[in-house]
Structures are given as structure tokens and as C-alpha cells.
Symmetry: C2
DNA sequence: AGCTCTTATGAATCATTGA
DNA sequence: GTCAATGATTCATAAGAGC
């Protein structure tokens, strides 16, 4: 029943596979150690009873763990699991299920390697008497072993003010010499400067949330999976999103020529990811 | 033996009291429900044996809890406890003692109201094969009850580029009167000037670490306690830093006309805070 | 006064060496 | 072997000097 829902969208570069169903069941059919990166934003805990797939905060860990066991199995030993998650505020307090989940995942065998902070530059507006706007989320990194693959050069970023000033200075100095010449010489020079003026990022990511998708709110902006896919995979590797939603992760993976597998409980999401809606 | 170390530095606006000793003992002499804000950066866990006051990660929670019990007692019901802390990386993993501490503090009766992110703009340099530079720390907010006092208007920040330029100009003009640091600690004058172009901040704070203190490294830049003192106290209130180090929190409190109590295990820190070195 | 440029340095982490 | 100390790596700032 599940594999019949599978869709192959293959081209010369990479393929996307979409499955409808609970990842707990669907992933059983994937072989061990076959995935390079699991990047997902699971359904957040929700206290509303009749919500579409909401999980009670109190039961979040027990709901998550058997699925994480499948993640652990299908992930390559050198692979990485990135979990974008945020705790819900319940009765004025941050709920502790994310903390408990981290502890439980370690007991399951995961290493809690890092916690990246996704700083949302355009936080949702609002005002409350004893709370400011929440403008960050956790991106938890888990691994199977201390030695994992990481392609740091793929996510280098332009340096800050120093290179800007440097660049401004360069363009001022070379302006009169290069204006009459062909553009290529100058631009090459600038490119070289820019090439050197790249720095490794930190564990804080500054990204705006996307406001493009008005129909279905994306769980995260494309730039988020893009960053992690470039950091933890190479062309041709396999990316898995077990709670794909509208399929952002898979489509970004395809753009970057990675193969991907997306799973979602809801048929409407699978159709959306396939582009059938 | 402890109260004899007490120093009163009183003036018309506020007083600072410094005590040498373990806050576990010193705080016993403070009355119940007398403190409006506890703002502190405790000694971080440390694996080195001979370090000056280092606590093993494995024993961090059990070391912290009895002290936190005193904090709970001396804090007013409407008061706030801000804990600036970061977990150490041990054997390639983030250690879990901070997570366990949050869970243990809740069992002790604290409410885990909020987690602010202090984004350190100038993170420590370094490069490693499977880790980026760590450029953030947690500022955990705990309360005794859901109803606590919070003065949001005191930490409004200027909006947009126009006001940034305006602010720069203003700070140049009033350099000797106002702190030149952005965002926090600005006088009412600035508030009036920029009254319209102000917004409430989020729960992400962008501050550089301070590079001024060459002798003793400050645990945090003055702007950090400044922000929380303005947010959670009024003039004349009482601020406590049970691990004061060089006394940054107390001196900021005095500047803002709050009373303060600073405690530190080491005589050299107390002398430093008093200005005797 | 407004720039440009130099230099020092900050709650770091990992791999290696030595006891 | 285990534990502790040392060296290599490297960027955003502020402060200060020079033009």
C-alpha cells in the first residue's frame, strides 16, 4: 500500500521519491545505512485535540522515539540528522519536551553533536505582557559517530565589514585604471578578492522566514535545508525528510543535484510536493 | 566571618554590597523574598582538575541545586532569575548538564519561562574539522510564578536604518554622557528623541563580548546585565549576582540606580569589584 | 572630524605530545 | 592507557595611530 504511492521523478541529475504514510512504517522498507542526511521539521507538539496530526506535548517523546529508531537505522554511519524544532509555550512556561527528547535520543544511541540557532530576522509580529516575540528556533544536530562528513567550504560566507571596506577601497583605487579597460580584468580581480574574503560561518544562522507560499505555510525557508544539504552532502548523495510537508527539503535537494526521499502522512502534502496541486 | 567582609558603598541613589564566600552560605543571611532580580553567569563546568573553582560536568547539577534553593528563597514572588550559561563540548558532543539543570530547577519549583539567545557577534576564532565556531549562549529565564514584573518599554530599541544613523550621530555628540554602546543603556533623552521609531526587541540579543578588561575576563559584557536589569527592575530595586566575578552586574546596577548584592568565592574578585585593585 | 589601517584579544576546540 | 598540558587554527570588534 505504501510503495504503490511511490513516485519517481527522475532526470539525469537526481531523483525525488515521495511516499504517503507514517514514516514509522514507510522507512521500514528502506535499507540500512543508505541515507546521507536526514533534514526535517517534525510536527510540533500541539495541545489542541482535533488538530490535524498534532501530538500532545506530554507524549511527544514517546511518539518520536520509534521513528527516530528508524532514522538511526537508515542513516549512514558518517551521516547527519538535523532536527528543526521548537518547544511550545504551555501555561506561561516553555515546555520541556525538546530537552527530554534530546536526552532520550542520546539514550537511543545518537550523539548530540551541535545545536545551531536559526535566527529568524523577520519574526512574527505580536505583543504580550510578559514575553517578547520568539525569533529563533533550534536546529539540533545528531550523529551516529564522532567521525561524520562535513563539507565546510560549501557554506563559506562573505566576510563582514572588513571585506566590504576592502572592496570599496579596491573599487575606488582601481576605478580610473579599469574604466577604459575591459570589464573582465577588474571583475576577475574583485572575484579573487571576494574569494579570499570568505569566512566560515558560525553556529548561528540568520535567515528570514519565507512569505512566498501563501497557500501552505512552509515549515522553514528553503535557505535552511539548502544550508544543511550543502554542508553535509555532496552531489548524488541521498537526503531524507520523513515529515516533508510541502516538500521544500526534497525540491532544494533536487536543485542541488542530490537524490531525496520525502514522506508525509497526508495525501494532500504528497500531491503538493509532486506538483499536482 | 562572612558579614565582616561586607562592604557598604552607599550614595544617594543606590548601594552595593559585596560578600566573600560561597553563595550557598552567604545567602542564608538574606531575608526571604527580598530580591527583585537575580542575574548571574555561574562558573561553567570544567573538566580540568586544578582549575580555580571548576566543577565537573557530571556533578554540575548537584552542585548547583542547593544554591538555586537559596535563590528561590530570597527572590520576591514577582521577581526573575536570569541564568547565563552554556554547555561544554565533551568528546565531540554537547554535554547535557544544562538541559538536566533546567529539568532539575523545574522540579525544585522554578518555572522555565523563557530562553533568550545571546548572539555573540565576535565569537572566538578557531577552525575544526567537524564544528563551527560557537557564537551564542543561553540566557535562561526562571520565575517563581506566572505573574512576574516586566518593564518592556525600558528596553525598546531603535528601528531601521534611519534611526541607526540618528543614533550614531547622537552618541557621537553625547559621547561623554551616554554610553556609546548601542541598544541598551540609553538615557531618557535618547528615548525622547527616538520615541516614535522604537520597537520592542525579540528574545535574541546581539551583543559583542567585551575586549576591554585585560586583567580579568568578564563573564559577560556590561550590556547583557544592563538589558535584563532594565527589563526586570525599577530604580531602587534589589539585584543579586551570587557569582559576581569582577562585579559587572553590580556596577551596572549602580549606574542604573538599583541596589545590588554581589557574592564571590574568591577574595581577589571581591577586591576587584570594590575597586581596590 | 572623518576616513583607513593595524593590532590586540575574547568563558574555544581538537590533535598531539609528554608524564 | 589515561590524564593533563601545548600548539594550531582564525574572525568580529574596539581602540588607537596616521593621513
Amino acid at each position: 500500500m505504501i510503495l504503490s504511492e511511490q513516485t519517481h521523478l527522475k532526470n539525469s541529475e537526481s531523483e525525488m521519491r515521495f511516499y504517503q504514510g507514517d514514516c514509522l512504517d514507510v522507512l521500514e522498507q528502506l535499507p540500512d545505512s543508505s541515507i546521507d542526511l536526514i533534514m526535517t521539521s517534525p510536527p510540533y507538539a500541539d495541545s489542541r485535540k482535533n488538530t490535524y496530526g498534532g501530538i500532545l506535548p506530554e507524549r511527544y517523546v514517546e511518539w518520536f522515539l520509534p521513528r527516530a529508531a528508524q532514522f538511526l537505522r537508515v542513516l549512514k554511519p558518517t551521516g547527519t540528522f538535523i532536527l528543526n524544532i521548537k518547544e511550545k509555550v504551555v501555561e506561561g512556561e516553555r515546555h520541556t519536551y525538546v530537552l527530554e527528547l534530546i536526552l532520550a535520543l542520546r539514550k537511543q544511541g545518537w550523539l548530540w553533536t551541535e545545536e545551531f540557532i536559526w535566527h529568524k530576522k523577520n519574526a512574527y509580529p505580536g505583543k504580550w505582557p510578559n514575553r517578547f516575540r520568539d525569533s529563533w528556533e533550534r536546529c539540533l544536530q545528531f550523529n551516529k559517530q564522532r567521525q561524520f562528513v562535513m563539507y565546510q567550504d560549501a557554506v563559506k560566507i562573505p566576510m563582514g565589514d572588513w571585506s566590504k571596506r576592502r572592496l570599496k577601497y579596491l573599487s575606488d583605487v582601481d576605478r580610473h585604471r579599469d574604466t577604459s579597460k575591459a570589464q573582465s580584468g577588474f571583475s576577475k580581480k574583485v572575484t579573487n578578492w571576494l574569494g579570499r574574503a570568505q569566512a566560515y560561518p558560525t553556529n548561528v544562522l540568520h535567515l528570514a522566514t519565507e512569505c512566498t507560499n501563501k497557500q501552505h505555510s512552509a515549515a522553514f525557508p528553503a535557505a535552511l535545508p539548502e544550508w544543511f544539504i550543502q554542508l553535509f552532502t555532496q552531489v548524488g548523495d541521498w537526503v531524507l525528510d520523513p515529515f516533508m510537508g510541502s516538500g521544500t527539503t526534497c525540491h532544494v535537494a533536487k536543485k542541488l543535484e542530490r537524490n531525496s526521499i520525502g514522506v508525509d502522512l497526508h495525501q494532500v502534502h504528497v500531491k503538493l510536493a509532486r506538483g499536482e496541486l
